[in-house]
Symmetry: C2
Subunit: 236 residues, 2 copies
């Protein structure tokens, strides 16, 4: 019986290793999508813009396929306790990764609109680049924290998320000023509002992902709580 | 053995009934949140605005608690095949319901901004009311389709989603015109843009929910496909 259990556990470990590798591959691909989307936005490289948009279907396919593998693992290995929590963490994580992919494609579509119309003033996107770099750092930390089951990143990510939200509001105020000064810029500014919003949502998804890791490790659900409460949880 | 299996199956059915009832309760509560948010927005009833915002934590609590029940069912009953797909449908459905709740709270927060600032022109929100009524109909259909495992609604919801997306773009064009005509209206118009965006996202979530039902019933993943393809799937 012990041998049998060990055998099942080994199979389960192998399955899990496979699924975790796939999630990290998906995560790496999604990181690339955001990076390319921001590069395409700031450079106006239309080929890169189209590449981000067409590659989005690969993110979707990865989600569907990892989901399927998770269902098979549950059905075959019938995991309980922390093994089950691990699978649940994966299922939730890939949903957020897929939505981050959607936001990257959205940024690329907005870039297309900005460059395709015959407009005089293409802004320099300095603030957008800055807030995007923070959101990308959050995603990278969330993936690291997933890979290593490291809780220290979680509270850090929640705090970065608050910063990204503040930056979004500051960009919004700036854009409102631009629009008031020159109503001909309203359309372009609105597209930049949607880009800033997409970046803010990428931060939200990275935050969700880090919370699943806390749930996996501590067995406690820390969604919908503050950074202070999460730090408390981790210390306990 | 057969008796034992039947016994397990009966327990499982009872568990499932319990969890489905809870999802429908959560769905009803979320429907109410959208309804109140739109009513609060159009009437300017500040008490109602605050009520929507403070009630959002109950949506979050419902998600966490149903999630926990699902984990317990998987660990105890070790469901496979369609039973497992049912649980997976529930887990994904409540994630979307929780996010719809967030959008309702967002609408209420925007309403608060619109009414709290000393502005002369509060618009009549006719277009917003119209598109919100369609998004609410989509959510209602998605919940019905979840309750009855009825596939006919799915393709219908996907088509309604396309209509909501078009309406969003039309509202956006209208708001751009308003902003250009009177730059003093820019802040209010931007808040209405975010409200329209929130409604459009409610439609997206309802669409996700209907796709999970197709997956549950047909065992095929129809995320990321067109309405035509879904109709094809259902006919097969």
């Amino acid at each position: 019986m012990a041998t049998n259990k060990e055998h099942i556990s080994k199979q389960f470990d192998a399955d899990l290793e496979e699924v975790r590798t796939r999630v990290l591959q998906m995560g790496g691909f999604v990181e690339e999508q955001i990076e390319y989307a921001i590069e395409a936005l700031t450079s106006g490289n239309e080929e890169l813009i189209d590449q981000v948009i067409t590659r989005d279907h690969r993110v979707n396919a990865m989600e569907v396929s990892i989901d399927e593998i998770c269902n098979q693992i549950i059905a075959r290995r019938q995991p309980t306790a922390s093994d089950l929590r691990m699978i649940m963490m994966v299922i939730k994580t890939i949903t957020d990764l897929e939505r981050i992919g959607d936001e990257a494609a959205k940024i690329a579509r907005m870039a297309k609109l900005i460059y395709s119309s015959d407009r005089m003033h293409i802004p320099r996107f300095n603030e957008i680049k800055h807030v995007a770099s923070i959101a990308m750092d959050m995603l990278h930390k969330a993936l690291d924290s997933f890979a290593r089951l490291d809780l220290n990143a979680a509270a850090q990510i929640v705090r970065q998320d608050e910063f990204v939200d503040e930056e979004f509001r500051s960009i919004l105020r700036q854009l409102i000023t631009f629009m008031m000064e020159d109503p001909r810029k309203i359309s372009t500014c609105l597209e930049i509002v949607f880009i800033a919003k997409a970046i803010e949502r990428i931060g939200d998804h990275a935050k969700n992902m880090s919370e699943y890791v806390v749930y996996m490790v501590k067995g406690k659900d820390v969604r919908h709580v503050t950074a202070d409460q999460i730090e408390q949880e981790i210390r306990e």
